[in-house]
Amino acid sequence: MKHKSFFWFVLPSALAMLLFIFFPIVSVLVQSVHVDHEQVIKTVETCDLFGCKESTTVDQNATAALRAEHPLGQFAGFKTYTDRNHLAIDEFGENWTRSNSWRDFGAQMLNLPFYKAISFTLVFTFVVTPLVIVLGFVVAVAVNSAVKAIRGPLIFFSLLPMIITPLVGALILFWMVDARGVVGAALQYLAGDPDLSVKASTPLMWIMLMVYGVWHSTPFAFIVYYAGLQSVNQDTLEAARVDGANRWLQIRHVIIPHLLPLTTFIALMQLMDNFRVFEPIVSFSAEAHATSLSWAIFNDLGGETRQLSSAAATSVLTIIGVAILLSPVLVRTWREFDRK
């Protein structure tokens, strides 16, 4: 394509990306390096339905001029990033010098909100992503080898978990694992422990969140692989069969190599999606046991007092996290492109 036609060809999408992706990210970045102006607090008498008492309020007149001049607030640089509710640089150093064992150091770090969130986020990402890829592949191969007549309904049922809204799907599972729910009661029976409760135990809650993650995302891997399976070269398969390859060898040497590029694609999408795990934590009311970066942003914005700068800083850290996660795959893709 000529440079000129290429330019006109990509202009609309480039403009849209600039408007809907680039500018919002810039605005989040700007927000994250600012904090509110210093608030002047004065002691006042407050009266409500139940009587009067001494309390405090913000002296609006004292900061009105300052606010009008710098509506964004005061510039803070990376102070929000390094404070305890984010990267906690000072606390990190303190824990490092104070703790006397790795175990102790780990426990201290997990007590900090950012590290607590990132530990669950990473475990979730690296457990769910491979399982989704493997299970999606298995389901795709199984459906593909089913009799043509039942393939339609099979595909429909395999896609169901993805069709159900994440919040609703997670809520269904939440009630099933309740101590009085189908799965919860079955687990109690199997474990022989009538007090077993998935919702009360941190390890079980983590497992349940990951089971949900796999259940919800497997259809995505399945449908991509299933589409890929339709384009497997039948001649190569035939030749393999003539050479005496059994079913496993056919999959190993013909089908898997054929689907490998798709695996890169699914891995990319799943790493990105799973790193932003959010809905199941809300639906499972799991915040006492597991939090994620996206949940932290939600929590900052959901309180009586919105913490915009804090949420913005966490958002930027999430973007950086996604970039780091995707870099190996992206580098690989780039090298392959370069070779060509």
């Binding site: 608030q39 407050t46 803070a76």
Partner: protein, 408 residues
């Protein structure tokens, strides 16, 4: 566009409903508020005014839109219906106007105690009250031969007996869901222990003290008698547990007692025996371990004086004695003349009579509430000490307060 249609449609539906005593306004009114029956009644009352356009947007997400919706000039919403915890966010952003002039000109008949006054400025007009108090099963207490508890220590004793008698394994209920609810329970219990949240006159937090530790220990003792899933139970779930006949005794919102005591969602044996008591005390203190709440309305700063007058008159009409009918009487503990309380409201009145403190209406308390909600669960799960949990909550609050400019 869609939103606008919905708002219009609901406004039409509302004006088509009951017509209230004459109210004539000249100006535009736009109300944002929470979504529950009592608020609907108030909004309907405001919409009954003629002569101006009254738009209504009631949603459970009102707190996410009211500050932004009132920040523009002119503001999208001319009035926000809020509670004592959320009026602070509006005042911090300086988007609500003092009502002194309007009260002097048009509101002489509003009872003085309904005016929420801060530093001499009327910032809101309250119309209903709420508080968490005891709810118990009188048949169960009679069966084990225990008087109605007045302290949390007596609740623990009763719970022990109920469990020993094999009536229920987890007889105590409580909205202990991690997050807002858990922080609210801590706030109640800490006030009951006589704790102060801040160093006087400053935004510096001080909860990591003997009262704080005693508070957490009492909460932990109560959770021993709660369903093991307590960290996922909000007030809806706890109410359902009581209606299911599992929970026999709990601390519950006055506004939810009606649901517990009606004949829906529970067997007769259960709902006919659920009784409302007063607020509980703890640790030998005399201040109830509970907080008083009010709901009220405000008028936006960034609207024309004409619209402000119209809004004031409409909201005044919406909270006037005229809105009290057979149907609306039971929707809330109305702080309006002519209100006659029903038995479900006994708890809130007992809480007021017992000198319960109001929920702190401080500019930075929302940040502490969030910090408490996120850091206390680790102690209740047995993962860390009470001191550590309180230190974590303090540190999380301090970082947030620095970011919001309350601390340096």
């Amino acid at each position: 566009m869609f939103l606008k249609k919905v708002t219009l449609a609901s406004a039409f539906a509302i004006t088509a409903g009951t017509a209230y005593a004459g109210c004539e306004i000249s100006g535009n009114v736009s109300i944002v508020g929470n979504e529950f029956p009592a608020i609907h009644t108030v909004a309907n009352g405001a919409a009954a005014c003629t002569g101006g356009d009254v738009k209504i947007n009631l949603t459970a997400d009102h707190q996410k839109i009211n500050v932004d919706g009132m920040s523009g000039n002119p503001a999208e919403y001319t009035s926000a219906i809020i509670a004592n915890s959320s009026v602070v966010a509006l005042m911090n952003a300086d988007v609500v106007r003092p009502l002194n002039d309007l009260v002097a000109a048009h509101g002489q008949d509003i009872p003085k105690n309904q005016l929420i006054t801060i530093d001499g400025n009327v910032m809101a007009v309250a119309f209903m009250a709420n508080a968490q108090t005891l709810a118990y099963r009188k048949d169960v207490l009679a069966e084990i031969g225990v008087d109605v508890p007045t302290t949390y220590e007596e609740v623990l004793e009763a719970a022990k007996k109920i469990r020993a008698a094999g009536i229920s394994k987890y007889p105590v209920g409580g909205a202990y869901a991690a997050g807002w609810n858990l922080a609210q329970e801590f706030t109640n219990m800490y006030i009951g222990h006589g704790g102060e949240f801040y160093k006087p006159g400053t935004a510096e937090v001080s909860i990591n003290n003997a009262q704080g530790v005693a508070t957490l220990n009492m909460m932990k003792a109560l959770t021993e008698y709660m369903n093991p899933d307590f960290l996922t139970h909000d007030s809806n779930a706890t109410g359902a547990e009581m209606e299911a006949g599992n929970v026999m005794i709990m601390n519950m919102w006055g506004s939810r007692m009606g649901n517990l005591m009606d004949d829906e969602g529970a067997e007769e044996q259960v709902y006919s025996n659920i009784t409302v008591g007063g607020p509980l005390t703890v640790g030998g203190g005399s201040t109830p371990a509970s907080t008083l709440w009010w709901d009220g309305w405000t008028v936006a700063r960034n609207v024309s004086d004409e619209d402000a007058v119209a809004t004031f008159l409409a909201m005044k009409n919406g909270t006037s004695p005229a809105i009290l009918t057979e149907e609306t009487m039971g929707q809330a503990v109305w702080m309006i003349d002519g209100y006659t309380p029903a038995p479900v409201n006994d708890g809130v009145f007992a809480a007021i009579a017992a000198g319960t403190t109001s929920y702190p209406m401080l500019p930075y308390h929302g940040l502490l509430h969030t910090a408490l909600g996120g850091n206390l669960a680790d102690f209740l799960l047995g993962k860390e000490s009470a001191e550590q949990a309180l230190a974590d909550a303090e540190a999380a609050y301090t970082a947030a307060a620095k970011e919001k400019g309350f601390l340096n």
